[in-house]
Each structure stands twice: as C-alpha cells, then as structure tokens.
Amino acid sequence: MKKAISCDSCGQPATVHLTHIEKGGRRKEVHLCEACAEQKKVLQKQELNLSSILQALIGQHVGPETDDLARLACPVCGIKFMEFRAEGRLGCPHDYEVFRAGLRPLLDRVHRAVRHIGKKPSRFGRAVRPDVQREVLELRRRLQEAVEREAYEEAARLRDLIRSKEAAE
C-alpha cells in the first residue's frame, strides 16, 4: 500500500492534490486535507455534471492497456473504443462484452462495483437467448449496410432472416 501523503498545512492525511505549473514549466505540488483546502478556497465550486465527470474518468483509467484498447472495435455495431472514450456513449448492448476490459475499471470508479445485483427481467434465461440477440444485432448492421449500398435483394433476404430469428425467439 502507498504511504498516505499528509496535508502541507496541518499534517492530517491529504485528500486534495494540486500541481501548479509555474513559469518555465517548473511543477510545484501542494497536498492538503479537505478542511484546509476549503479554508484556502483552492477548490472551486463546480456544478455537478455527470458527463464531464465521466469524460474525466474515462480518460484517467486508461493505462498500460491503451494500445490494445485503442485498437478495439465492436464487430456488431462498429464503434471503436476510442470513439466511446471521446463521446462517453456506447454503440450497442454487445459493447459491454467487447470493451469489458476497458469498462470494468471505469464502472468500478463510477459505481464502486462491477456486478449487477438488482432486478432481472422475468423472461431472462428462459425466452431470451443472448447469442441469438447478438446475431440479430449483427444482421441488422448488415441490413443497414446493404440498404446504404442499395443492394436491395440482399437487404430483403436479411430482413426475412431477422424476422424468422425474432419469431423463433
């Protein structure tokens, strides 16, 4: 475990860490406990903004895995991990599987947990088949691409396939 840094002012454990970049690029670090930080008014009051907090968190957690994560893209919806990082929004339900290595540390920071323990859909595990859903999701992307290419015969074929899969579900 890292040794706790103590407050420059009073010696209590410090929770506020500031790095001042001074003229000429020299860095000066300041460590304070919450009470002293408040007294010195170093913390500006900020409105709570979830998406900016999220942006900051997504940026922070990416460590040594960056290269691997940066190359990741979802085969189902096509979103790249880097796009998710920039926008803060995922592309499809399957991303939670594909980006799991990148998401878990993020979820841990945001929620202090990585596992759901609440309500479950009553049909889950019976009628719902995750593999079929992933397949349909992928078929939809191919359908979309076919429409964009104006390959209507293929589009019609894919549409029927999606319908039959959905009906079977």
Partner: protein, 350 residues
Amino acid sequence: MKLDDLLKNTGEWLRGSGPDSDVVVSTRIRLARNLADFPFSNRASPLQKGEIESLLRERLLRIDNGTRFSYVQVHSLNHLDRQFLVERQLISREHAASEGQRGVAIEPQESRSVMINEEDHLRLQVLRSGLALEEAWQEIDRLDDLIEQRVNYAFSEEFGYLTACPTNVGTGMRASVMLHLPALQMTRQLEKVFRALQKINLAVRGLYGEGTRASGDFYQISNQVTLGKSEADILREIREVIPQIIDYERKARAALLRESRPTILDRVYRAYGTLRSATLMTSDETIDLLSCVRLGINLHLIEDLTIPAVNELFLLTQPAHLQKLQGVVMEPEERNAARANFLRHRLNKN
C-alpha cells in the same frame, strides 16, 4: 393526442398534497431500458430509429394498465409544443432538442410516461406528488414488467440492464425527490447539506435536471450509483436521508420566524405584493417570488392562497405554458407583460 388537452389540468405531481408536502414537492423515478437487438439510439441509423420508434409505440399503446397511454411523436412537434412537454417534465431537454424519429407515451394523469429514442430506447418515468418513493417504485416496476412482456430488453447477468451510458448501467434507475428549501438557502446552510449528500454518493441538482441553476430554491436529490446495489437499497439510501433534510429545513424556517421575523415577513409580503401588482415579469423573477410566497403559505403568513394554487402558477407562468394559454407565440418582452398580467388576474381574484 391533442397537447392542448393537457393544459386543462396540471398533472398529478403538482397536486401539492402527499406526505411532507411543505418541503417535498414531488418524487420521480426513471428507468433506462434498451432493446436487445438494436444499436443504441445515438448509434442507430435514421431508418433503425424509425423501426425502434414504431415497434415500441405499437407495444406501448397495447398496454392496458387500468388506463391507456396516449402517444406524441416529438419529432413532428414545433418548438413551442416540445418546450411545453419539457416544462411539464414529460420529456427531457435533450429529447426536445435531439434529432430523428422519437416520441413520448403519456398517461392521462401524467404520472406515468415513457420516452422513446432518448439516449436509451426507453426511458420510463413515474412522477408523484410529495414524498412517495415506495409507491413510485411499485408503479414503475409494474409498468416495466408490462413492457418487458412485449419486448426483449438488453440485459446481462453481469452488468444488469445495458444502457448507452455506463453511468446508468445495472438497475438503470434514477430516483429523485424534489425539495423546496428556501429557509436553508436564506440561512446559508445548503452547502453543508449538499456536501454531506455528496459524501454518501447522492447528487443534488436544480429544478429542471442536469446543468440548470437551482431556480426558486427547488433541489432534486437523486442517486448516482446504479450498479452493484439493488433498487430497494438505492431507494432506502434516499429515503433515509430525506427526513433529515426536511427536519433541517423546518428548523431553519422556525428559526427564521423566531429570530428574523420582521425580515421574513417583509420578504414574503413584498414578494406577494410584487406578484399582484407588477406589469412586467420575467420567468426567473416569477419563480423566485413564488418561492417566497410558497414559504409564506407554509409559515401561515399568507392565508388566502393554497399550495396547489402556487404550484400551478409555477407551471403556468413558464414560457411555453404562457404562450399556449394565450394562444399566441410571443417574444420574451411580450411574454413578460403577459405573464405579469396573468399573475395579477390570478392573484387579485378575491
């Protein structure tokens, strides 16, 4: 559905009754849900968004929950009508402003509504007057079950209900309680309360959700965490903290009356007087003055006005409501005159 029909009422949540309604205005729970086999709304093509919208609209309209939903296609509404729904808290600002095929299903009492193609495919909402977390949860849980019988939700054993933004994943639930805290504001004790709330991971926001300044001393307390806690735990955490805040606010009100009676009387009567006689009134000023009047009623300083009546004025003096009531589109300056006129008429009846 004709939006103008909504104008005749104000929605159940503004009723102003319910437990602790001197401090608690309303309780709201929302659930984020997505279809398993479509990309999230932000990543869906216009064609796919259309498919999602028509599929969900059709399923929602089939639900018979005692009452039935009416449906509004938000993309085909003009700016004023969208704003009108935002003011009634039936859709979010983002839903009003975004693009593509989207809509909202609304129940006659406006206590239940479902947005389609917001950030998530489905955003279910239950709004209740006063402090009613348990009732609101039961109601939204039942609605969620009814929808789930008709569609396949994106759900994983590990991460729960899968959402476009990882801050909502898990339960997909945001429960919030809207509080009116004028006395804590006047006695400068709000900061202290909010810091304590943030320590236990509860968020505090102004009246109309994220990124808005707290107008009229209305604050929403809501959960931040959606993963790794059950719905019951999340609700319990909020339920435990609200009575303390109510207690602080009531004590601050009593202290104001005891220690600064002349000041508080002046503020309340000055606000009431201004609302009854001004000829130009912005919506920000209206909200601040009505907030003082609301406090005055709760302190029994004003006897000829009721909380439901004031709640209604908060809503009806909002820009879109004012224009719908007058039946014309108005520039801000015209609105200020119309708003003052409306308030004078309403408050000088007796």
